[in-house]
Symmetry: C2
Subunit: 489 residues, 2 copies
């Protein structure tokens, strides 16, 4: 068979399945990495432009809900509105739960109250609460009024729990069995029961007061004989979640103990719901992303479907705080304006000292924030961590001081034609300032996140501005101050 | 009942369960957030210091493996060695798989080959491969030689797949059933089969050539009647993973489609293993952490148990690259030394322009890196994203130009006693430079990560240095250049 490539192949030479494979690949909505192809998005856009409802439905009907959500996120506001108008009630409910906030707002606005109520009813309680939580009270009540009473009550109950708590992300349908039942009885019950969760991974074993005794993974359950008592299949102490627990804590426990599902209990320690790992994966991801964005001064949703004004406003605040820091640094430089006037070389070299300190501080701080969030930086390890970061800063501080001090001295000796004594004095001052600043950078990089964490603040949100303030001010004042004493005098 | 607090309570007034609860809480290894208390770590350390093997075992015997791993990570190198010497063969095998790299190296060194082989044999294949993958070929062979033949072969086979591929993280024991079997037959088989995975979440349904037809979640399986054919319980198209797929892709698919387990196939499309969500949660977390650390110039493991020299060396490289950038910026300033000599105010204000650009660029870049990794920034949305970031930068650029231009002008007018014309000219130059730099910062912040991603590079690793270079050079040259033309001349 001759070499074929997808752009020019003689279909007549190929067998039917080969032809199909090629045609499939050319039409595929997803690339080999599982992302939507831009060709596909383009095709959808084109049909939206032609107001071709059937054409759009044709393209999206085989997509999984998560892919429909991805598609919508890529369409942009105008096309999303038209897309919803064309697709209407055919929008898979699951896609609503998968959308990012910005895009979901657009979709919710574009759906009629009836369509939205219908979609929300199809979702699990936790997903429904998630979709409705950002709406105004009034809009939410309208949607709830259109829902069947049982679902309405379940969603209302979920919304009673605070945002980002276990109660909000749990599912309320749980399958629990008393400890004295045997496997056969439970299987028979499962086969006939009606209001069961669609998917579950463990049989929750409870006592007569509906308190959790233990968990039996389904894989252990199906391997057991019919006459085995379920309580005899319990192996480990179960990890149990309080309904009021913060979702970040929940994610921490799931990750630490490799949980698939965990029972949720109320204040009376009675079983009220279950959290499954699929909800947790998203929390793990978004919490880690939040830290990364917060370190860069982004504390609001900045995803691609949030309006420009809102994004600009959310970033303005951080830039304003940074302006304060920069002005402070300028004031420090201003103190030494006489010194700079006598030796312009100082103005040329001073950004190097500040920048190296800033970078060393950012490295240390990022590691500290990360270790605080994975809880390897704790009260028990704090002293060791501070010692270690100080040592690392000292080592690199000396290394760069030698490197840069020598380079500056040689530059001024050879290229600027200064006297050897002057050039080496300048190099020495630069080197000393560099060591001082990198050492302070390391200390600030670890002590500031530690202090913020101890004070109950999120270290990711405000560490960066404090660390930069320290490295700028120490950098400029150490370098210019030493220069004023030793070089200019 | 009078108010009680845990430090001073009259035990005689309380009922037995209340007393027990208080005593439990005082002894607890874990705090209410599920982390080890420093008191507990301290107690363990004390007994290690006293060489009290029984005392140490007493304390740790009730801990879950993940908590033992946390404990070891907090002990530090010396105490870890003593801990392993005292605990020896009693170390729960699971803890090995949960340790961070630095601490695991210490533990592996401290265990005898026999102890290590025994522990590794207890682990799942994927965990065993994970523990052994960083050892030298020779050490690894020694450990493998001590293992039972079946486990040895399984681990060897896992190690054949590249690091961070699906083949490496998959489990090789899978439960699969032919499509024509019914539920009753499968249950009977499960109850009698021997080499079953310890935990599984789906029945994999295969054709006679061992190709995957579909998945049946156990919760659907246990609800079905005995005479139902398993293939009739398949609902969705299964998500299937190639053994060679990168683990980051695997995590993406799990997160996108809310998977709990997925079958892994070889090049012949035959079922060879399964990946479960608990492995994926850790990948999701570590990939997000990697991005965050990479943006700060940390590309190696910097966790608390990595030696100081190694950490210092890994950070040195990034600082050296940054030094290059800083020197480049200095060269730019050096071009304008004559200008600065005539007007020292420029040296005082120039860091503000560079710093605001740097921060605006970092904001944009971090959002871009994050959106690339969540795949919402794609070929289909790139143009919209660039437009949006440019607009955001322009808005904030103008806002800060007005703010800072006016502030600088007033300062020089009122405090430094300059003429009105000179002060406003300076403010105007500062404002113009600020707009230029923040606009360039926004463009660089989005275009550089996009370009790196298009070129197949990880945008998290090298974007920051390019963006800072742009904002420093544009910032200094725009401000000093405009000043040279309009202010000094």
């Amino acid at each position: 068979m001759p070499e074929t490539n997808t752009s020019e192949h003689d279909l007549s030479e190929l067998t039917t399945p080969e032809v199909e494979a090629i045609l499939d690949a050319e039409d595929a909505a997803l690339d080999e990495r599982g992302s939507l192809t831009s060709d596909f998005v383009y095709q959808v856009r084109e049909r939206i432009g032609e107001d071709d409802a059937d054409g759009v439905l044709d393209l999206v009907e085989d997509l999984k809900p998560a892919d429909v959500a991805d598609l919508i996120e890529q369409l942009g506001e105008e096309d999303t509105k038209s897309f919803i108008r064309l697709v209407g009630a055919e929008l898979p409910a699951g896609a609503l739960a998968e959308l990012e906030d910005g895009a979901r707002d657009t979709v919710i606005d574009a759906l009629t109250t009836e369509q939205l109520a219908e979609a929300v009813t199809e979702l699990d309680t936790d997903e429904a609460a998630f979709v409705l939580e950002d709406m105004t009270q009034e809009d939410r009540d309208e949607v709830l009024a259109e829902m069947p009473i049982a679902d309405r009550l379940a969603v209302r109950a979920a919304l009673e729990y605070g945002e980002e708590t276990a109660g909000r992300i749990m599912q309320r349908d749980v399958f629990a069995a008393p400890g004295y039942w045997n496997v056969g009885q439970i299987i028979d019950r499962l086969r006939s029961a009606e209001r069961l969760p669609e998917t579950f991974y463990d049989v929750y074993v409870v006592d007569p007061t509906y308190k959790i005794i233990g968990l039996v993974p389904l894989s252990r359950f199906v391997k057991a004989k019919r006459d085995t008592k379920i309580e005899n299949l319990i192996e480990d102490e179960p990890v149990i979640i309080d309904a009021g627990m913060d979702q970040e804590e929940v994610a921490y426990l799931f990750e630490k103990y490799n949980l698939i599902s965990a029972p949720v209990i109320d204040e009376g320690r009675r079983l009220v719901g279950m959290i499954t790992v699929d909800d947790v994966v998203e929390i793990v991801h978004s919490e880690a992303d939040e830290d990364m964005l917060a370190l860069a001064g982004i504390n609001d949703d900045n995803s691609i479907n949030v309006p420009i004004r809102k994004v600009a406003r959310s970033r303005f605040v951080w830039l304003l705080v940074n302006l304060g820091t920069a002005i402070l640094a300028s004031v420090v430089i201003g103190i030494f304006d006489g010194t700079i006037e006598q030796m312009v070389a100082l103005a040329i070299l001073m950004p190097i000292v500040a920048s190296m300190g800033g970078n060393a501080g950012t490295q240390t701080m990022t590691v500290a924030v990360r270790n605080l969030s994975t809880r390897t930086l704790t009260a028990a390890t704090a002293v060791r961590a501070v010692y270690k970061e100080t040592a690392v800063s000292a080592l690199n501080g000396v290394a760069f001081a030698v490197l840069m001090g020598a380079a500056a001295a040689l530059w001024y000796l050879l290229l600027a034609g200064q006297s050897a004594a002057d050039a080496w004095a300048l190099g020495g001052v630069l080197a000393a300032a560099m060591i001082i600043n990198m050492l302070c950078a390391g200390l600030a990089g670890i002590l500031i996140p530690l202090a913020l964490d101890r004070a109950g603040q999120d270290p990711a949100v405000s560490s960066a501005v404090f660390v930069t303030t320290v490295t700028d001010i120490v950098g400029f004042s150490a370098f210019l101050g030493l220069a004023a004493v030793f070089l200019v005098g």
